[in-house]
């Protein structure tokens, strides 16, 4: 079989997966309600964070920690969306829609299909993140002058980070092929661990030394550090201050590469096991 045929199948799988994902994500209500939901949800999320910060941390909005937390939290929206958006497809297609076996019996590239399904979640996360950031700048007074944003760094690291999240989603998707209803907890657990360990709201410096090292091994940490440097001019983590921005991006690229290889190898292994054990059409929760 030629690479051209494989390429065509991969592209079709991505395209149709993205179309399907968008239909599922946007079709549950009418357009107006969907638009309201898309705006209200991130604003509500931002307000919760602000109140937690003001009440629990007793900090002021002018404290330099606040933009750190706010920007980290805004971009963290992608982590949950992409991670769960891709991995949850496996269990949703298998158990809710009963379609995974038909996907596996069709000439599609399952990797690009799953990533395609995550595209809709990514698009929705983009809207949410943008609204959150605009709310932060416009209402909460976070200082992000467009002229001082490093747009090149922002775009480059943004794409790299999304790739890392997509591969992490595939990794979880592989685990989902082999597990029953526990996927939701695994996904939530991983997303929660990343929230704690990647410096989303707590700088790495406040974590115990052992957890700091775990955090330093995660691509999401470098992604958020690079994004903050691009947007705010400062990553905010003392533990990473000694690294130049180029080094942060390099570590992000390398860790994404390692994650890509690991997730594909793991997913293929999980597929083989699922084929061997007859798990592609198991029903455990619906």
């Amino acid at each position: 079989m030629t690479a051209r045929v494989r390429g065509g199948e991969s592209w079709r799988s991505l395209r149709v997966g993205a179309w399907l994902g968008w239909q599922i994500e946007s079709n549950w209500t009418d357009l107006f309600l969907f638009a309201v939901y898309s705006v209200v949800k991130p604003v509500a999320g931002a307000l919760i964070l602000v109140f937690m910060y003001l009440v629990v941390a007793r900090g002021g909005l002018e404290n330099p920690l606040f933009p750190y937390i706010f920007v980290g939290n805004a971009f963290y929206i992608y982590v949950g969306a992409v991670l769960m958006g891709i991995s949850w497809v496996v269990i949703d297609d298998r158990e809710h829609y009963g379609m995974l076996k038909y996907m596996y019996a069709a000439p599609l590239n399952i990797y690009t299909y799953l990533i395609g399904r995550g595209v809709a979640q990514t698009a929705i996360a983009t809207v949410a993140t943008t609204i959150t950031l605009l709310f932060g700048v416009g209402v909460l007074g976070i200082h992000i002058p467009p002229g001082r944003v490093d747009w090149g760094l922002l775009a480059g690291t943004f794409v790299l980070g999304l790739a890392a999240l997509a591969f992490l989603g595939l990794l979880l998707g592989g685990a989902t092929l082999l597990t029953a209803r526990h996927n939701y907890f695994i996904g939530q657990g991983v997303a929660g661990a990343l929230y704690l360990l990647s410096g989303v709201v707590f700088p790495l410096d406040v974590l115990p030394r052992g957890l700091q090292w775990v955090g330093k091994g995660l691509p999401v940490t470098y992604w958020l550090e690079a994004l903050r440097r691009a947007v705010l001019g400062d990553g905010g983590n003392e533990a990473l201050r000694s690294l130049s921005t180029g080094t942060v991006v390099l570590v992000l690229a390398l860790s994404t590469g390692v994650l890509a290889v690991a997730s594909i190898v793991f997913f293929r292994w999980a597929e083989r096991v699922a084929h061997r054990r007859g798990l592609l059409d198991m029903q455990t929760m619906h």
């Binding site: 399907l20 079709n27 007859g278």
Partner: protein, 344 residues
Amino acid sequence: MAGREFSVETQDLTRVFRVKRREARGQGREVVALDRATLAVERGELFGVLGPNGAGKTTLIKILATLLSPTTGTARVAGVDVVENPWEVRRHIGMVSGGESSGYGLLTVEENLWMFSQFYGMRSADARERIRELLEVVGLADRAKTKIYHLSTGMRQKMNFARGFLTDPEVLFLDEPTIGLDVQTARTLRSYIREWIDEHPERTILLTTHYMYEADELCDRVAIIDRGKVLACDSPAALKRGLQGEVVFRLKVDGDRDLGPLLDGAGGIERFTHAARDGHTEIDLILGDENALVPVLSAIQGAGARLLSLEKREPTLEDVFLRLVGRSLTAEDGGGDELPRLRR
């Protein structure tokens, strides 16, 4: 078989499932779903696999459709090994599983089918035309724009049936395609299956069923399978001809009676089944010759049962199955009030 072109070939195909210790409940921890099944389906055939529930039919289809690995043995579909090159196999096949209501509920019938056609690289306009044709066939033309969460289970099943034929695959696997459908719909789908294979002589269908009449009516050849083993494989007519030296009777006696021990003791019976139905007991007998009927009738009379009807009938595939296995095709359906089938 040299020189023939086979769309599906299996050689000693075996699938063993491991059962978890806590689920084994004192029984063996291995279940043999397919036991050295060897089949060869020629291109252009409508080939049936007939067997009761749990016979291994779905396991066979799952392996052929690359959804499940065999434990041992080989399987080739469209000349391609399903284990060595599953991706290539998938370009040649389609699959429909009956009794399922799968599909994306938020999409319309048309969208569900269109989406699937795109995975196969169909041109969108061609796909829409084909969808229109198939929805006419399955009687869903007026539901094309309906989101499928509004559809009944039967309607979803019809949509899935249409999905299987959408791309006119080289090899189509139909796993109990009419199970659970009403009589009229099942008849319509069966006639479309026959029509499709007649119009596409280069295509092949492998159909599993536990409906004897479906296999008899539709299939060019039938493999009879039970407990994972292929017991016989031939045309329905040839299989039935195998019973030519024997006679088949159906008797009805009054009351709900366990006549097993009594029939066990009667001579000349090759095979029998008996089941309670609507306040009477129905007995199917395969006898070595007609003379064997007399002692059976005497025994029944001796047991105080009243004979309601007696019918000598042509052998069916059900009788072939009974002759081969010693119980009826429907014995393990779980839905009836059948008494245990006995083997002599």
